[in-house]
């Protein structure tokens, strides 16, 4: 198989580092992706923590506490064991919500090789009551600047642009900054001809505190995807618990391939609002990943412990025509547009 040797080499390095802290410093093998607007003044309103090499540090190091209670079955789980199982309950297999940092560690070979727009923050366009205070609390709690972390990394050596929403940051909701970061992620990926993977756990949908401005981000992100898609880019949307409202009704739904984690709640309207409207209890399993699979709304439900491997396979299957033609010495014309 073409490229096999490259992958086994990558696999060797992955295994080497897997049980140790993932933040070994490895020089990116390709040139860094150019930021769309060079020389743009960066914001200093929110200090971005950086490591000794000046790279931004996103998210908290480890979850608090020795023990964690499974949200589904109530079992008290030994956190270390749970972490080893990628935060899937080792009794009932329920996928626990994980931070953006944990997600990136699970998926990428070496964590983010470069973070995009780490210090991009939004304003308070509506002067909404208590918004600033909520933002401050969210930043303190999650050690993130905003609800999404975007950047570039590798999955089994395949380079990708990746975005991860963190539910702990105001429910993973999308205000101006989140929308703009996601749009810029696609713009960068278009320029660099890289695939995009977004893990959306945006239970909050569009961020209410930014009102109509956050609603517009559904258009902004969708349009960035439209441009990316027109240029032939591959976008894999991974819907994790929970993906609702304006997140699901924009970039969450627009993947060339849409995956979901088992048991994840995915939908447009929240269950409480539906129950109030129709005045009846919702059926069991409503708005779960499996419900969406049955209704034809996602391509596959993928176990978290298989996710990395699955994504790598998908990425390889989407190699550009040129790459696989060369290796088999077949002459094939231009790919259709």
């Amino acid at each position: 198989m073409p490229g096999e040797s490259r992958h086994s080499e990558g696999g060797f390095f992955n295994n080497l580092f897997r049980s140790r802290p993932r933040y070994v410093t490895v020089q990116p093998r390709s040139a860094p992706v150019e930021a769309p607007a060079a020389g743009e003044p960066s914001l200093t309103a929110v200090p971005v923590r950086r490591d000794e090499r000046g790279r931004p540090v996103y998210g908290r190091e480890v979850p608090d506490g020795l023990w964690t209670k499974c949200e589904a079955c109530g079992q008290i789980l030994y956190t270390k064991e749970l972490a080893k199982n990628l935060y899937v309950c080792y009794r009932c297999q329920a996928h626990q919500r994980i931070s953006a940092r944990e997600r990136l560690n699970q998926i990428l070979d070496q964590g983010l090789e470069e973070e995009f727009d780490a210090d991009l923050v939004g304003g308070d366009p509506l002067q909404f009551p208590e918004y600033q205070e909520k933002l401050r609390q969210a930043r303190e709690k999650t050690q993130l600047v905003e609800a999404v972390v975007c950047g570039r990394g590798r999955i089994e050596d395949e380079p990708v642009c990746v975005g991860v929403l963190d539910f702990a940051f105001m429910g993973g909701s999308m205000g101006w900054a989140v929308g703009e970061k996601v749009a810029r992620l696609f713009d960068r990926a278009t320029a660099a001809s890289l695939p995009v993977i977004i893990f959306s756990s945006g239970g909050g949908g569009a961020r209410m505190q930014e009102g109509v401005v956050s609603l517009m981000q559904m258009a902004t992100t969708t349009q960035a995807i439209a441009r990316f898609s027109a240029a032939g880019g591959l976008y894999i949307a991974v819907l994790t618990d929970p993906t609702m409202g304006g997140i699901y009704a924009s970039f969450g739904s627009l993947g060339d391939v849409i995956l979901a984690e088992p048991g994840a709640r995915i939908g447009f309207t929240g269950p409480r609002v539906i129950e109030q409207t129709i005045r009846q209890k919702l059926p069991a399993g409503f708005q779960t990943a499996e419900f969406l699979l049955k209704n034809g709304m996602v391509d596959a439900v993928v176990d978290r412990r298989e996710m990395r491997r699955f994504l790598a396979r998908l990425l390889r299957l989407h190699r550009k025509r040129g790459e696989w033609c060369d290796s088999r010495s077949i002459r094939v014309g231009e790919a259709p547009r």
Binding site: G123, M208, T222, I266, L282
Partner: protein, 334 residues
């Protein structure tokens, strides 16, 4: 006094009643009271201005929801010289909450798509209170693509609290269809002018609300969520909707200030329901003017400008924290 006068209109209605009384009294008795009547009428004009200048956001929401507020079909019948309604999404069924078709607007053939509320309980049940299912948005997309094929401009008339929150709607992919509709309108190679005539809430409104120009009627509201929804999520109390309406900054003036809409269409005193013909005339003039501006733009450039409209932050410094990034990277990677 009109049948559905609002609480805050009562002093005005009272004054108007007294003027009418005086009139009939003077006619009956043959006494000249024109001086007194003129004074009272002056006061009524001043009072009306006073009342409508100081409307709270929540009062504006009430006007936008007035049961006699003109609906999409009311406007279509007034602004179009000819109109043929087209039905169905070609996949599942015809959604009565969304109406669409081809009409003649001042000689220009246009595709008009709107959300349709009913005027009474029976009509509202048939129209599902103007709350579309996925097939409604699919119908909108189908008609938009049809317009693109024939080079017709698209007009959307928006009056929708939100997409329908129900089991079947979720089963048929409400969120996914909204995303696809936003994408469809974002890349449509023909002019799109959106007019918010009443309510414009959440992704349901945006699904038919992405265009080259977005116009908004004076007493319409536009936000990410209804005031009730906001209040019940934020404060677990839908009764605090008036407070939420203020916090959400959902009025036409605020939307203009936020750079989300391009023009406010003035309504007759008291709201569009007081004089639907006048409201429709204002709407028609604006639609024709904007379409005429957009028609000469080549399709590639039109789509580029439309997408730029949503990324153009320089004119919207308040969207971000000062000092914001100097420019948007929208042009990159296109």
């Amino acid at each position: 006094m009109t049948p559905e006068a609002f609480e805050w209109e009562k002093p005005l209605a009272e004054l108007e009643r007294r003027i009418a009384e005086l009139r009939s009294f003077s006619e009956e008795k043959g006494i000249d009271l024109s001086g007194e009547i003129a004074t009272l009428e002056e006061r009524a004009v001043a009072l009306r201005q006073e009342i409508y200048r100081n409307l709270t956001p929540w009062q504006r929401v009430q006007i936008a929801r007035h049961p006699r507020r003109p609906t999409a079909l009311d406007y279509i019948s007034r602004i179009c010289d000819d109109f043929i309604e087209l039905h169905g999404d070609r996949t599942f069924r015809d959604d009565p909450a969304v109406v669409g078709g081809i009409g003649l607007l001042d000689g220009i053939p246009v595709t008009i798509i709107g959300t349709q509320k009913g005027r009474d309980t029976k009509e509202n049940l048939a129209r599902n209170f103007g709350l579309p299912h996925p097939e409604g948005f699919r119908k909108a997309m189908r008609l938009a693509r049809q317009a693109e094929k024939f080079g017709r401009p698209v007009v959307t008339l928006i009056d929708i609290v939100g997409a329908y929150p129900g089991i079947e709607a979720e089963e048929r992919g409400q969120g996914l269809v909204i995303a696809e509709s936003i994408r469809t309108f974002s890349v449509l190679r023909t002019p799109v002018v959106c007019a918010i005539t009443g309510e414009a809430g959440s992704g349901g409104a945006l699904a038919i609300g992405v265009g080259d120009r977005v116009l908004m009627m004076e007493y319409a509201w536009h936000s990410v969520i209804s005031p009730e929804g906001c209040a019940s999520i934020l404060w677990k109390d839908a009764g605090r909707a008036p407070e939420a309406a203020a916090a959400l900054r959902l009025t036409a003036e605020e939307c203009l200030r936020l750079g989300v809409v391009d023009e406010i269409l003035p309504e007759p005193p008291g709201g569009a329901h007081r004089d639907p013909d006048k409201a429709a005339a204002v709407l028609k003039e604006a639609l024709v003017r904007h379409i005429a501006e957009l028609l000469p733009i080549p399709p590639d450039e039109l789509v580029r400008q439309r997408q730029e409209r949503y990324r153009h932050h320089r004119s919207r410094p308040h969207w971000q924290m000062p000092p914001g990034p100097a420019s948007a990277p929208a042009a990159t990677g296109e």
